[in-house]
């Protein structure tokens, strides 16, 4: 005995079911949809779904249906900006993120001969809300793992991963790539004289100037303590030297305001090197080592200067 009554299932299931023909005309509309849209099946049968709901992307839906009819396999319709197929307002007071029900939509072959497909609509609002909260938390965590908490500049770990990609990109596109390694002159004396809190203020002050002085494509990173590294894409050694000199001058002429209305002036020393595939044995760490040696030389020569190797 066949105990399956498709009509009972069709009208009692807790999700939307629409039967569409290949020209997007509605052939069936279940009770779940009737209740949530206030549209009776008898009033909309044989109407084109895209004429009835003008916000549906007709070109896309037609392609999906064609895909189902050609491949005889399900097609899924769950991507931004198609977070819903049928606009159903949400009344819940606990939902804070969405105005309309978020939906997953699966289209499956229904009658190959008559070229009909069945569209299943699932309510995914609660799941979407939880996912978007998780996504935000994940992004916050990712940001935290990439950034130095004091300065909000990139940290050494991020620099290390990203610089390899930048190096590969520069090689592929035959672009120059240069590095500035810099640190604050006599930083220990600043800390010893004014205390660590003022030392931190100096680091933050320098970070802000570094961040606003470079292009979006450059990477500024705090390597630790008072040491910073700037990676400049599509920039040769001579131009990098100009950037370094400008930075040095700007720091020399600026100051950190102290709580007692006094000011604190400080200087920086910088080492510059351009990546050279042969000289550096195709390793950016070697470029870094050369720039670091140049920085050491700048310190030996009396500080507050930029040296290019």
């Amino acid at each position: 005995m066949n105990i399956i009554d498709n009509n009972v299932i069709f009208n009692s299931v807790d999700n939307g079911i629409i039967i569409l023909d290949e020209n997007l005309n509605i052939q069936a509309w279940n009770r779940w949809l009737e209740v949530l849209t206030h549209l009776k099946e008898e009033n909309i049968v044989n109407q084109n779904i895209c004429e009835l709901f003008s916000y549906i992307n007709e070109k896309k839906l037609k392609r999906k249906i064609k895909s189902v009819l050609v491949t005889k396999t399900p097609s899924f319709y769950n991507v931004n900006p198609n977070k819903y197929l049928i606009q159903i307002p949400i009344d819940s007071i606990t939902n804070t993120s969405y105005t309309f029900m978020q939906q997953n939509v699966t289209i499956v072959p229904y009658d190959e001969e008559k070229k009909l497909v069945c569209v299943f609509i699932y309510d995914t609002t609660i799941l979407s809300e939880a996912n978007s909260k998780l996504e935000k938390l994940n992004n916050d965590l990712l940001e935290m793992s990439h950034k130095d908490p004091l300065t909000h500049l990139f940290n050494r770990r991020y620099f290390s991963t990203q610089s390899k990609k930048v190096q590969a990109f520069s090689k592929r596109n035959n672009l120059d790539l240069s590095l500035i390694v810099l640190d604050i002159d006599k930083f220990k004396a600043i800390n010893d004289t004014y205390g660590h809190l003022i030392g931190d203020e100096v680091i933050i002050h320098l970070s802000k100037i570094l961040a606003k002085s470079v292009r979006e494509s450059d990477i500024v990173s705090r390597f630790g303590g008072e040491e910073f590294v700037v990676l400049l894409q599509d920039c040769n050694a001579e131009n990098t030297y100009i950037v370094a000199e400008k930075l040095r001058e700007e720091i020399e002429h600026s100051f950190v305001e102290l709580p007692d209305e006094k000011i604190l002036k400080y200087t920086i020393s910088l080492g510059i090197a351009q990546f050279d595939e042969k000289l550096d044995d195709d390793n950016l760490e070697h470029t870094f080592a050369r720039a670091d040696t140049a920085l050491y030389e700048a310190k030996l020569n009396g500080r507050n200067q930029a040296i290019l190797v």
Partner: protein
């Protein structure tokens, strides 16, 4: 530790032949859906380990700023996960082939098209393969990730698959060449089923 189930040369040849037929059907389907003439190069098959897959993707990332990786879970006798990997440029070209004008193309449209092509290639090829070797399978909806670093891949695809089959092919339209790879990830139980089915298939053909 379990021993990976490897395919021998005959079984790999047989799978390549079956995949060639299945890919042919997928290409015909794509061409019909978007009304464009398309051809597909003969798929090349490689079986590798998970660490080799990471190395393979890392090498691709060094040549491309980012990769789209669409994944689709397969349930049934040959359960596992299919990944479709496509680079930035190919995904953009593919979106153009789907009839979108340059000013209509944005991230959402590219995502949509990559998911759609994944669904077609993954379900048609795996579906065909399953029917040829008498397996029963169903698919979950595909999900898309765009990765810039191999760490992002490791974070998002943490399942330990023992056997990985890479099927590389190139989809050629009249104006565009689109490089994509279908990667079939399976655990030993499913791999053993696939291996045995291929052995039976070879025996049936030779009988």
């Amino acid at each position: 530790m379990t021993t990976p189930v490897f395919l021998n040369e005959d079984e790999k040849d047989c799978l390549q032949e079956l995949m060639n037929v299945s890919y042919g059907e997928a290409t015909a389907a794509i061409a019909s859906i978007i009304d464009r003439y398309a051809t597909l190069t003969i798929p090349k098959i490689n079986t590798i380990s998970l660490s080799e897959l990471k190395e393979h993707l890392n090498n691709k990332l060094l040549q491309n700023d980012s990769l789209y990786i669409a994944s689709q879970i397969i349930h049934g006798n040959i359960s596992g996960e299919n990944l479709f990997v496509i680079d930035d440029k190919s995904s953009y070209n593919l979106t153009k082939e789907f009839g979108l004008d340059e000013d209509e193309i944005d991230e959402d449209e590219i995502d949509e098209v990559v998911l759609e092509i994944t669904n077609i290639i993954s379900s048609v090829t795996s579906g065909n393969l399953a029917s040829m070797i008498d397996a029963n399978i169903t698919f979950s909806s595909p999900h898309l990730n765009k990765i810039n670093t191999i760490t992002q891949f490791e974070d998002r695809f943490d399942k330990q698959y023992e056997n990985i089959i890479i099927i590389s092919t190139e989809l050629n339209f009249e104006d565009e060449h689109i490089k994509g790879e279908l990667i079939i990830l399976t655990k030993n139980k499913s791999s053993l089923f696939l291996k045995n089915s291929l052995v039976n298939f070879i025996e049936d053909v030779e009988a």
